[in-house]
Symmetry: C2
Subunit: 200 residues, 2 copies
């Protein structure tokens, strides 16, 4: 085992993770207004040029953060939505997962910050769009089993509105939001609504 | 008519509108990162202290912008959703209105910027929460006519998930978003889904 080769690589991965983590914290606690390459570097006791060695611009950094967040999100989803479940159970597990995810800062505050970036930067928008498309495709696959006679385009639009509902519900059930106290009932309604849309 | 009294008042209103408009433009085209009181003042050839006479801090300015945006939004909604329509038609008109609104920069980019602010500032969050609650109450009132036997809490949670769907769908149908080309079909599905949830 050639540790002389492996170590610099591992160090680079660790450093990249530290940079993403610092960026995530800064976005959650201070918002996009406070986020500059210089401040991220300072937080990690790095020089700006060393940070730029990992991420040339703030946009590439944000883009990598979007990728990392949605990768974590899909990994978490894969754990909850399993092939052994009925499609209705899968849809329910997805709704529960998203409702739980909104209870974290990463799943609420950070996600809204990243959505705002999509209006400012086409590169970030493209990455977020791809992530939403992946999410929508998972929904489409599940509801195709619930309504096997639906046309492809019917399944596409149903999957869009179900995914929209999943994306929008955080505005109501995340901590401090108007329906946070009714989260349990809202989550059950979310599951029932997703199934009703799939069957309609 | 005492124009000596009226004019300063009118001037103040006009100035306030100019400030909100400049803030709106800056958020849409440059994002929260670029928004400072100093830059808003400069854009309007005002001194910073004069701007602060209207809005003491950036947070009060953003808050006033949230208020103005949602006031415009509800006014537009009132024009589309009319008492003479059946509740299903009202729900459909609401879905159509929101889908159309996402075609504007104010209804998409600006709204996402304002959502991001809610994670940074409790005052702005409170104003956005109130606006979302107003929207949800309009939906609840409509669906109460569709499912008159539902309990109050059932109507509450149904209204939450329908409103969530309306809020989230912009991520898919706004210009440049993955389902922008299928907006018409998605909007029809949105109407059908809202009715299916109300009846479920």
């Amino acid at each position: 085992m050639n540790t002389a080769v492996r170590q610099p690589y591992a160090k680079g991965v660790r450093r990249t993770e530290e940079i993403l983590s610092a960026t995530r914290e800064m976005l959650i606690h201070e918002g996009a207004e406070a986020l500059t390459m210089r401040r991220v570097a300072a937080k990690l006791d790095m020089s700006l040029s060393n940070l730029q060695h990992y991420f040339t611009t703030k946009e590439t950094l944000i883009n990598a953060l979007v990728d990392a967040q949605y990768e974590d999100y899909v990994a978490g989803l894969d754990e909850r939505v399993e092939p052994g479940q009925t499609p209705e159970e899968q849809l329910g597990a997805f709704a529960q997962y998203i409702s739980d995810d909104y209870q974290t800062d990463e799943g609420s505050i950070l996600i809204w910050e990243l959505w705002a970036f999509t209006g400012r930067n086409a590169y970030v928008a493209d990455t977020v769009n791809k992530a939403h498309e992946s999410e929508r495709r998972i929904v489409r696959k599940i509801i195709g089993q619930i309504s096997p006679n639906d046309s492809k385009s019917q399944l596409e639009t149903k999957a869009t509105v179900i995914t929209s509902m999943f994306e929008g519900v955080g505005l109501f059930v995340a901590p401090g939001r108007p329906q946070a106290k009714s989260r349990k009932a809202v989550t059950e309604q979310l599951k029932a609504a997703a199934i009703a849309i799939a069957r309609a």
